[in-house]
Symmetry: D2
Subunit: 326 residues, 4 copies
């Protein structure tokens, strides 16, 4: 295990967790059908041009905002601050660090006012504190009061949002952005032979990561690699593979176990082409307050995934939106 | 889901995680054999009268200190602070709050100097920052560098320490202690009809709990209810039940799913009588920074565990040390 | 392991497998809703007073015939013969053995002509060879052609029918019936201290059992203890427990592992009160052609189930129909 | 599902099950270490130049005979007959069908006299009835008397032998051999565009297959593709992948799910190069007495495994012994 001794960046502790991802789709109805019936999220609110979705144990009103659009990819990424004071402190720090500030937004159906800013590669972020909790309909109330909603057992039915993966042409620049803006720490990373960073996995709490950024190899800008929800068990992911198979969903790769982070995974493409993942990390958490990044070399990466699976070509090149589409 | 709006107590964020539990045994050799061969922990260091044990992915040198003693129960409980500064701050706050201070201890083979204090029921706690990391022997190094040690697959082989459960004659007093000393928040609790608190589940990070305290019903003092390690999958626990069965270990109850916290569990007694648990929480975490305690009533508890299992009598009465032993 | 040396009875090999069970319900609509939406069977054909149901990988048109009735329990039990010749041979042997013959029946929507007969306790059996295969609708066709129907993932969604358990006031008499009529062998049994047989588990192929018979302790006649479907994994049963919980289904006992046969189980009552089970036997099969019965004593049974769970009172007394109902 | 109507060949029912495989190794000590410590079989008897191994719930003395040799591959394949009479009948039928008869052998430490014969590609088979049952040492006796031995939990620890896969230059010729000699039926097969049969999966009982034969593409003779043991759960196979990883075992492909037969699989090479598999079929059995072969076309095979994994090159070419070695 790569040693300890690392100190978290300023701002550590001021962001509580990844809240939601806005996903753009140019096949809104098909995507919505996929995310509800097959992937197993629940609709909190449907509007003509967007739907607020949540996993059964997401405590907030939504963790996925699906938006009708002329293209695909990520609309914005929302993180919840740890407190109203932390939100203000972060807003000031972000502005002070010289990152592109979009300013205060009044929020939407899912949460209150939010501070918006942008990374150097065009992805829009927001942080907010005031939120709306999941409001399960009577038939959707859980049998056990410590769950956010009923375990509805529809489709893959993951438990909660887990993380997303963005693409950036310079990961080291993105790393600075994440440290400055979210007080995020790097838990694992890929050090390429050419001196560049191939990928970084960031966390702002005890999760192994909330956001990963890997190097853009398709020439796009502001692109999404994938969005991931967490299942309770690895067996849920094997079962999901059968559900995807029976529903004609394009399984890209998996189920298998990542070498990096050790997560059990399954990747598929939703009808509009956005990549989605189901993942299970077992009981793994980052508990050490001085956790130093685990650094993987190219040679180590060439061994493939944990059990030897070689990474499929599209995994390196496919992002949304496609380069020709934007 | 019981709503939000709760603010964490002062000191929140200053303690990083539960580090280790010292367990006393009057059958040292048998207990050590159980914890290594059957339960599946690894020896970091063995001395004549104690052994430092860790799970395969515990990042510290030890998470269980097994100590030869004339009786059973818990020796002390160690929490790791988030930073050297946080350690000092906590020490001052604990003293200021008027709790029984035992003072600074020089540490042991597993960690550096520690601040020791005691709860009103006689359990000894310590907080420390300087720690010793797991030092896997060459044959015990993991294939993947992001794991603390090799997945050795011996016995039940849980991944990491999870929590412990203490007994106290007044849980509300214990709750104050946890809030004052560790900045802990209550994630779930039992409200008895007589106005007393039947149990509290405490966390100091994103885990659903690191420590639970339930009402002492056997007349003992400073007693332990159980110590728990986390497995990656529920299936690991079913497999552990077979391992316990084949090794003549007393399975007290389970496998089943707790209503409180929703954890899948298995309880057994190690040779000296200390109760140990294996648990799996799936992907459940407490991410909301304003998580309010989920409060269970007696009527709700009477329904039994999640799937209806009634709590076995010894679960209410057996603690260590036995009342007659101390 | 109890030794070998046993020879299968005459007729062994002439019966291929348990085909279907007719279950009576005095709450037809509620039972049908349970078996389809919650338990996860598929409707092959629905008529005003009965429904033909199958699990997703049952190869025949139905494995459960749900029939509207003034009471509950089992209507009849259907076994498929190994060939037309075997069917005739069995019919002759049954008549010759002096068991109560009900004669040839023309069959129903699920299979062709069947030979009907009755055990000494009033349960009606039939054997048939001509059968109707599952006819999945276009949207229900499987992605993989070696499966009978699509894995639809609705409810508990077991793979196939597994077995049923009848009650009889004299299990040794029932054993003779099974040997004479079906050429069945006993794989495991309970020998009571009073010299009676407490239960017998019968197979006519490599399954560990297709039918169990346990001693009637409620004073009823021709009663059913339970009907069981097989899941692919134990994890499916843990998941089913959550589905039952969320749907208000009465979970009687489990999930746990049987000592007898080693099956992982979950028992629930469908809305009309018939007990249903979900079970997983892992990779266990009876392959030895000279397998001798494993005989369990009362003392051994007192240890409870495999991991120590004590058998719940209703499990001994509840059968369908209730004694007062018939 | 490909329909019914097929009649089993003469001799069906006379062979009970696959009993054992003799595996040759030119790294005897390393292979033995692998099969016991890592793969998780138990030694029934060790002699200077061979070891008799069994899985924990194999009821016979051995299911794998590991033999020191100058090369690798399969020594012989043993099937147990259903009765002494069936053994004689099969011996006569095999001779009458004109296959190469090697004659009666006195047996070895694991079973009594056996009738030996050879397929047209040089693989040696034997059938026997008199067998020696597993004789667990006192410390290896199971807690539950219906298991053959104690669940020892060492290594991957599969439950029982499942099947083997041979290579033949003409699968249709091999098919005739299996039907003539073992009364085996084909449950699934690959029909190549060139009119040849690419592979056949054979059963002689309710298992989906005991033996597969695929087309030799490496130019060898009498070669083995792999030997497989069955695990109770898919999760056992995921766990085994970690055990293989930690022990430096070459994982060739998997874990994944086969399209053919739907089995969850993991392939690895033992130290001498023989391919071994761990597999889980869930609750799938062939129960229909008139099951017709499921026929897969080349076009269907090009879709890869069930969830899309492409077959790795060595899977087509690697067999034992290597062509250059024999």
């Amino acid at each position: 295990m790569t040693g300890g001794g690392a100190t978290p960046p300023p701002g550590w502790g001021e962001i509580a967790h990844l809240g939601h991802v806005e996903l753009l789709t140019n096949r809104f109805e098909e995507s919505l059908d996929f995310f509800t019936r097959v992937y197993g999220l629940k609709v909190s609110l449907q509007e003509p041009d967007c739907a607020y979705l949540r996993a059964w144990d997401d405590y907030e009103f939504h963790s996925l905002k699906l938006t009708r659009h002329h293209t695909t990819g990520v609309g914005h990424i929302g993180y919840r601050a740890a407190s109203p004071e932390a939100l203000e402190a972060r807003a000031e720090a972000i502005a002070a660090a010289g990152h592109k500030v979009l300013g205060w937004d009044e929020g939407d159906a899912g949460h209150g006012r939010a501070f918006r800013f942008e990374d150097p590669f065009g992805h829009v972020f927001e942080i907010y504190f005031d939120t709306r909790r999941a409001e399960p309909a009577p038939e959707d109330r859980p049998a056990l009061k410590n769950m956010a909603s009923r375990f509805h057992a529809q489709g893959a039915c993951p438990r909660r949002i887990d993380h997303l993966n963005l693409l950036a042409s310079d990961v080291s620049v993105f790393r600075n952005f994440m440290q400055d803006c979210l007080g995020a720490r790097v838990t694992e990373m890929i050090q390429l032979d050419n001196g560049r960073i191939g990928g970084c996995w960031f966390t702002i709490n005890n999760k192994t990561y909330d956001l990963a950024c890997t190097e853009e190899q398709g020439g796009g800008t502001a692109r999404l690699h994938h969005v991931t929800y967490a299942t309770d068990q690895r067996e849920d992911i094997l079962r999901a593979a059968d559900i995807f198979l029976e529903n004609g969903v394009h399984i890209e790769t998996g189920p298998h176990k990542h070498a990096i982070q050790g997560t059990f995974f399954l990747y598929a493409w939703e009808p509009a082409g956005n990549r989605v993942e189901l993942a299970n990390a077992g009981a793994r958490l980052i508990l050490a307050p001085d956790h130093a990044p685990v650094v993987w070399t190219e040679a180590e990466r060439r061994k493939g995934q944990a059990w030897g699976l070689k990474t499929i070509e599209t995994f390196h090149t496919h992002g949304t939106p496609p380069v020709e589409q934007r």
